[in-house]
């Protein structure tokens, strides 16, 4: 038997160089398959975390907040020279609105129309001008009435009109703004304001809801955050990272604008549609 086994051993092939090389390749691939699993996911760096060089507008959210009037004059120097006088005048008018007029009534007036034209121009300007435009929109929302009363003939009109201004700004700057260190946070704020205004328009009726306002608001926000395309936009990513509950409700809730409304109420409690009163 011993002789047979010795001959048997001789019949078995040894691992030659080529076989060993293939074993090595397989081993490396398997080791790599284990190693790649610990490859870390890249952190999402929001645009506002990027350090900016040179002169810039610091703390841009202050220009959208309750104390915006204290810093609004700083915006003048960032506006193109040819528009600066008009902007200075419009800023003065918007920040001096008193008596809480209805948003539609004020915007349809002489001053309102001038401001509306200026907003259109600023939206097509620089990023600083875009911020200035948004500051005016926020101030309009703060100093005019858009929360409908029981007796309003077209209860959704005021909120829908202001939402139109915020929506126009978002269409022009939402996506670009989400990637911009200066406008990232204001862009999110604009989306929340838009959602809040459209939610108000949707629920403006005493009986039932305004389906058209709901559908319009939903459609706009879905496009802006990328729900329609199946791939989130930069603004969608930004909102997802900072306002996940609002985004979750936008996708899943039966009343999908409710999340934006709730987040806006928390972030801007003075934007109540009644001039803080």
């Amino acid at each position: 038997m011993g002789g047979s086994l010795a001959r048997y051993d001789a019949t078995l092939p040894v691992l030659d160089g080529k076989t060993l090389a293939l074993v090595g390749v397989a081993g490396i691939l398997i080791a790599a398959a284990v190693a790649v699993r610990i490859l870390p996911a890249p952190r999402v760096i929001s645009a506002e975390e990027v350090k900016q060089e040179g002169p810039r507008i610091v703390e841009p959210m202050q220009l959208l907040g309750r104390g915006a009037a204290l810093r609004a004059a700083e915006l003048d120097e960032w506006i193109a020279e040819e528009r600066r006088p008009i902007f200075r005048a419009a800023r003065g008018q918007v920040f001096s609105i008193r008596g809480c007029p209805e948003a539609v009534a004020w915007l349809d007036g002489v001053e309102g129309q001038r401001v509306e034209r200026l907003l259109g121009e600023l939206r097509h300007g620089t990023r600083e001008e875009a911020l200035a435009a948004l500051a005016l929109v926020f101030q309009l929302a703060r100093s005019t009435e858009w929360d409908p009363g029981v007796l309003a003939s077209i209860p959704e009109a005021n909120a829908a009109r202001l939402a139109g201004l915020a929506g126009d700004w978002l269409r022009a700057w939402g996506e670009r703004g989400a990637r911009d260190p200066l406008l990232a946070e204001p862009a999110r704020a604009a989306a929340l304001l838009y959602g809040r205004l459209m939610y108000t328009a949707q629920h403006s009726r005493v009986i039932g809801t305004n389906t058209a306002a709901y559908e319009r608001g939903l459609k706009t926000l879905s496009e802006l955050v990328g729900l329609d395309s199946g791939r989130r936009t930069a603004l969608g990513e930004s909102l997802q990272s900072r306002h996940p509950e609002a985004m979750r409700k936008l996708v899943l809730d039966s009343d999908r604008l409710r999340g934006f409304d709730a987040e806006a109420r928390t972030a801007f409690p003075d934007l109540d549609g009644e001039c803080g009163g």
Binding site: T11, P13, A33, A41
Partner: protein
Amino acid sequence: MSNGPERSASTGILLGAILIGLGGLLLGLQVDSNGAWCGTGLAPLAIGAFLALAAIAARVSTTSGRLPRNAMGIVAVVAGFFGLAFVISGALAPGGPWMFLEVLLLVLVVTLRKPDSRTGRWIASSAFGLLSIFLLFRLWISYQGSLLRWQVLSVDVPVLSWMPFDFLDPVKRVALGSFTPFEMGFPPAGLEFAASATLWALGFALCTAGLVLVQASAIEHENDRVHALIRTLPGPVADVVERLLPEEEWREQGLHGLPERQLARRIEALVSERMRRQESLRRALDTTKQIGLSGGSGFAGEIQRAITDESQRETPQ
């Protein structure tokens, strides 16, 4: 013995191992919404490795603890283990209650189900079917998650959902099987579904193909070992031994995985037993010849005719 069959088995094992490595590589990656690559994490692999180990342990216990006896056999076992671990980890939901439910089902199917000793596979076809279903489920929930829908399904409640009352909205739909991005192991930027699903489906297919190839080649490799030992005998004797012990019976007769000396003893014992059986049969046939066979019809006649024909074939002309 020519080197042909042995080379073929080795090539199969190596090719299978390379497929498993490639498949595992794809199953270990995912793409986030910004197009960046990242890993799928070690937790699913740990679960897969645990279940693969359990499956292999179950197999070893049913084969009286037989082990690979040479380098290529060891390569086959190692590649098979990783193949099974990658396939399981790639098919399972990445985390949360869904993963543990799937693990429970797999434990029932993979480890409690006795492996089929005839095929020698480590994992039954039914388990592969179950893993394929799990992969589809994983792709589905990943798709839902990539659209920020953190639930398996959302179902309208009959009657309530038809009513045009807004205050009923909260109860009009029922979310089934909710999960979170954390459970899914999604990257912070979210999952790019199309690219990730392609990686996982391709990786699963490669791993499965590699695993099947390694298993089949490992069996062939063991047969080659037995064949090589038998062929150390003089040619005519080896032919007789291979007629007495056909290759198809080697696995069932427990020849796979035996060390050389035990293998030789086992073949000796089987040859001895089969020769005794042949001798006994020959004596019985001789007895029937001495008794003489009477013709007949029906069952008895057919049996007698079969014995006569066989006897004539056995008698040298």
